[in-house]
């Protein structure tokens, strides 16, 4: 109930994010999606480096509460290795459960979903 109650997974992901920041300068297709809902205290940017129809590297930047930042880290982790055609799939429930996100914060996770949709939409049209 108290402000600042986080499960271990949030604490770990928040303290040691390995996917925060920008993509490495490697060859591949670069995707980028961004969404913000400042009234819900959330601003999320996702980027992905793709090769051979798969995400080989994902990175995030975000402004928001620890749950949001941890959820971004988890999202980036899960994006890596994914085939491009599944890029628009986003499981809010799974994230929320794993990170024990309190109900009043669920709206913030939707911003990640929006960013991921934008990421998927940024794919160059193949024929």
């Amino acid at each position: 109930m108290a402000v600042g109650d986080y499960c271990t997974e949030v604490l770990t992901l928040f303290a040691h994010p390995t996917h925060a920041g920008d993509l490495e300068a490697t060859a591949g297709t670069r995707l980028h999606g961004e969404a913000a809902a400042l009234d819900r205290s959330a601003w999320v940017a996702l980027s992905a480096l793709c090769r051979d129809g798969r995400v080989i590297q994902a990175r995030w930047r975000a402004w928001g509460c620890p749950h949001l930042l941890a959820a971004c880290e988890l999202t980036a982790l899960q994006l890596e290795g994914r085939p491009l055609e599944s890029l628009a799939r986003f499981s809010l429930n799974e994230l929320a459960e794993r990170l024990e996100v309190p109900a009043e914060k669920l709206g913030r996770l939707l911003v990640i979903e929006d960013a991921q949709r934008a990421l998927a939409a940024s794919m160059p049209a193949t024929g």
Binding site: G4, F14, P17, A20, G21, L38, S41, W43, R61, W63
Partner: protein
């Protein structure tokens, strides 16, 4: 690893070890165990010890000990003042003046008054959570029963200029209540000279125990009050309930110690506050919500461009204990009206942090805290989208 730096004095002070020791003695001393209302020597000794402590508490704020009511804390004192005067005087008027910058103890008591048919004028705090005297003077009416303003704001530390408000209220016969929970024991305060009719404060913000406070009353105020709780008739019939001897003695000693150290501590602590401020400026994009002048010695409310408060709190919490700047330590978190009234956006409110220093804060702790906070701010900014910083300030 060294212990976390405690920078949350505005929420509560650690109990002064001398106070803890005196309370331990009071808890173990056979002569002080009786009910202070009991007629036998045990009760009389406890009652006498309480009266001595009451004298020290009253002296700290320039009050008459005979009219100082002991309560369970500033929340109760605020409620007793606001609800007590209004309910007790409802035949004489229905108008109350307060501000949106008050502590929730006053705000929520005034909201309750609205439900009971009173009319409340809600001033917009002009000065970092505090009202300016002209605002009160403008709002005073024929039928105003009570003005309730705070002496020092709990979020920013800004101080209110009480004297002109006191003079205006006295001239019109309106009762003036002042919430001095943050300032009592830290700054010289003379309720009588300032024309304050009801002065609320609490022991745990000056080195005393939690769960004990006081409401110092003028004669007029005393006659006007309706009690919040009824019973055995303690505290002049205005606050029934068995007196908590050890708590009152702890409060009394804390008051004495606060007065002794007041000038030196005020200088020392405000020096440390400025040191913290200058150290933190290295990160850039940091602003000060607390006024540089006319502020409590120990309170420094800051904002960091591009940073979200909850994440900042978590990022520093293994090394620094502080409060988010937008919400006082309360059981529920609401965005801060105080900061918004200062012109900050909701997002800027969320980018704020209240660092508060006190009796046991040391220079090396300040330095350690500054390094930790600056590092966390930088890390969080690196993780934020590039557009954020220009938007969130």
């Amino acid at each position: 690893m060294s212990a976390p730096v405690y920078l949350d004095y505005a929420a509560s002070w650690p109990v002064d070890p001398r106070v803890a020791e005196a309370m331990t003695r009071a808890l173990l001393e056979p002569d002080l165990q009786a009910n202070p209302s009991a007629g036998h020597p045990g009760g009389q000794r406890a009652a006498l010890a309480i009266e001595q402590a009451r004298g020290s508490i009253a002296a700290m704020v320039g009050a008459d000990p005979g009219r100082l009511l002991i309560t369970s804390g500033a929340t109760e004192s605020d409620n007793l003042a606001v609800l007590g005067v209004a309910r007790g005087q409802r035949d004489r008027g229905r108008h109350v003046i307060t501000s949106r910058g008050e502590h929730r103890a006053v705000i929520d008591a005034c909201r309750q008054l609205e439900k009971e048919g009173f009319e409340v004028t809600w001033l917009k705090p002009e000065r970092a959570g505090c009202v300016e005297p002209w605002q009160v003077l403008e709002a005073l009416r024929e039928d105003t029963l009570l003005v309730s303003v705070m002496h020092a704001n709990n979020e920013t530390g800004a101080l209110c200029d009480l004297a002109p408000i006191g003079a205006a209220c006295q001239a019109r016969g309106t009762l003036l209540h002042v919430d001095a929970a943050q300032s009592a024991g830290k700054l010289p305060l003379d309720a009588g000279a300032l024309g304050v009719d009801l002065l609320a404060f609490t022991a745990h913000k000056l080195g005393g125990p939690k769960g004990i406070g006081a409401l110092a009353c003028s004669e007029r105020a005393l006659a006007a009050l309706q009690p919040l709780q009824f019973g055995g008739g303690q505290e002049r019939g205005l606050r029934s309930g068995t007196s908590a001897t050890h708590q009152v003695l702890g409060f009394g000693l804390a008051a004495t110690l606060a007065v002794e150290a007041m000038q030196a501590e005020s200088d020392r602590v405000s020096g440390l506050r400025e040191r913290l401020w200058s150290r933190l400026q290295s990160v850039g994009g940091v602003w000060r919500n607390s006024p540089a002048e006319g502020c409590l010695p120990g309170t420094l409310n800051l904002g960091f461009e591009g940073v979200e408060g909850e994440s900042l709190m978590l990022a520093i919490r293994s090394g620094v204990w502080a409060s988010s700047g937008s919400a006082c330590a309360s059981a529920s978190a609401e965005p801060s009206y105080v900061l918004r009234a200062m012109g900050l956006s909701d997002l800027a409110c969320q980018a704020s942090l209240r660092l508060s220093l006190g009796r046991w804060t040391e220079a090396d702790e300040v330095d350690r805290a500054a390094v930790l906070i600056a590092g966390a701010v930088e890390r969080l900014r690196e993780r934020a989208p590039p557009g954020v910083r220009s938007r969130i300030r």
